[in-house]
């Protein structure tokens, strides 16, 4: 659409499963008559001959020849609607029409404002009580969110975050942590077809102040603060970005259970290593939220036992190399690694990066490495450019050491560890700014 703005007649080609989304994006950009043409899904893995078949075939959304849609899209004269575009006001009201408990639960569910579980209705009294959890004014803008890069940003105020915190069942004392999530500007409800989900880790004194868990079952539904903060992050993402609706603002083909709630605290006091936020330059007395992108895979193990190196290499080389791991480990495991000479997290993550290797052919034969990394390699950006020059059977590193992170958590009932899809993109937010 930016090309149209620059005076260049354009046709955007999409696969048909994105038809609703593509038309919605065009409408929200004020250009609902954007000329589009569609081919069948998928394009990935199709041969040149099959792709030629798409081009010579029908647009599956209109049943007209695909190339007719393309050529007419570029040359058909504009009509009145094409010339004026579409302007409209989308302001959202502060309150909804009064109703009964059952009616309002149904309204919230039908409007896509929930995670499809019952919510605590955000009455004026409950929201006012929640707002006592922060010193900030209700109308202060906390952040902006959108489900993907080609959508428009929506804004969230302190009051809107508080409303979603009430819906999640959170307590007012959790609000600064929830506001920090909102301030990240990172949605927990990406529309990605890959079913991306976020895991968030809380560090610093706020953990104990509000009763978060870094002990038994910390990654599960066994602590009120962990569960409701994680859920609030989901709900404020849904409502703070204009929805998370399948086929429109959500396209994750498989979905992801991390999209219910995935927030926990680090067991800083029981870890032999520096807390995560201190690794990233914060003071131990700072309270922070850190966000990890992924959630698409989990590998797990126990130990470290005598063959831990083989086990780690097997896990590291089996997971998606387009999504670096967040390694969560029980304090028992962390202390055993420290006993083995890994006196810092960095020493262990460096070992992981140096030993997680794969043939260059396999490294590049990945849909998302092709889409996201290959252009960088072609442009000469290291270390990708060197990997692109490697012979097909040459081993290349899957990750750089700084891409792999470790967080210590767990109740010490078992020496367990997991590798969770969790790329860290410098997303750590100071909770103290939102007290």
């Amino acid at each position: 659409m930016q090309l149209e703005n620059a005076g260049v007649p354009s046709v955007a080609v999409h696969t048909d499963v994105f038809a609703r989304l593509a038309r919605s994006v065009a409408r929200m950009n004020g250009m609902p008559r954007t000329r589009q043409a569609f081919v069948p899904q998928p394009v990935v893995d199709k041969t040149p001959q099959q792709l030629r078949g798409y081009i010579e075939g029908l647009d599956p959304t209109t049943k007209r020849p695909f190339m007719q849609e393309v050529i007419e899209g570029l040359s058909r004269p504009l009509d009145e609607e094409d010339l004026k575009g579409l302007s409209f006001d989308r302001s959202t009201p502060r309150l909804v029409e009064p109703g009964t408990e059952d009616d309002l639960q149904r309204l919230f569910l039908d409007n896509g404002w929930t995670d499809h579980l019952p919510v605590t209705l955000p009455t004026e009294q409950r929201v006012a009580a929640m707002l006592k959890g922060t010193s900030h004014q209700p109308d202060k803008v906390v952040g902006r969110m959108r489900p993907t890069a080609y959508r428009e940003f929506w804004e969230l105020t302190v009051e809107k975050v508080a409303v979603n915190a009430v819906m999640a069942g959170a307590k007012p004392k959790y609000l600064p942590v929830i506001l920090a999530h909102a301030a990240s500007g990172i949605t927990a409800r990406s529309s990605s077809t890959t079913s991306l989900a976020m895991t968030t880790v809380v560090n610093g004194p706020i953990r104990d102040e509000i009763g978060m868990s870094s002990g038994i079952g910390a990654l599960g539904p066994y602590n009120h603060a962990n569960a409701t903060i994680g859920r609030a992050y989901q709900l404020l993402s849904i409502n703070g970005q204009g929805g998370s609706v399948p086929g429109d603002t959500y396209m994750g083909t498989l979905g992801n259970a991390y999209n219910y709630s995935a927030t926990f605290a680090e067991a800083e006091e029981r870890s032999p290593w520096r807390p995560f936020h201190v690794q990233k330059g914060y003071k131990p007395t700072d309270s922070t939220v850190s966000i990890f992108f992924g959630g698409r895979y989990t590998a797990s193990g126990f130990g470290p036992r005598a063959t831990w190196k083989e086990k780690f290499i097997r896990c590291l080389t089996s997971i998606d190399h387009n999504q670096a791991p967040l390694i969560v480990m029980d304090p028992i495991v962390a202390r055993l690694f420290a006993d083995l000479g890994f006196d810092s997290k960095e020493k262990l993550t460096t070992w992981c990066a140096e030993n997680a290797m794969m043939p260059a052919r396999e490294y590049w034969d990945d849909q998302w490495v092709q889409t996201l990394t290959h252009p960088l390699a072609v442009a000469g950006v290291e270390p990708f450019a060197s990997k692109l020059k490697a012979a097909p059977d040459a081993l290349v590193a899957m990750y750089e050491p700084e891409e792999i992170n470790i967080v210590v958590v767990g109740g010490e009932t078992q020496g367990a560890w997991r590798m969770i899809g969790g790329s860290y993109r410098n997303a750590t937010v100071l909770v103290d700014a939102w007290r």
């Binding site: 620059a6 260049v8 696969t15 994105f18 570029l74 302007s87 989308r90 959202t92 309150l95 889409t371």
Partner: protein
Amino acid sequence: MSQLTVHDPRGYPPNVIGKRLAARPQSLVGKTLYLVDCLFDNSEAFMDQLKRWFAQHLPSVDIRMIKPRESWVDDPAMRQKIAADGHAAVLGVGL
């Protein structure tokens, strides 16, 4: 049953400002058409087939292939080049 007054949980969207489409040429004959490979997996192969289709059926159209620097990242320099040198563009495949 008692009536409750509750907050709307949605954030604040920007207003939508209508934008017009660019003026169309009467035909593509003799025009320069950019095929923009948006860097999705296999989109280059798709665009190559599209180029071959034009060469076979509309050979007077001057087809030029172009790519942005990165996926998902706006490339103003690429847009400027298309606007300066081209008459029309096809973008794909993907979003």
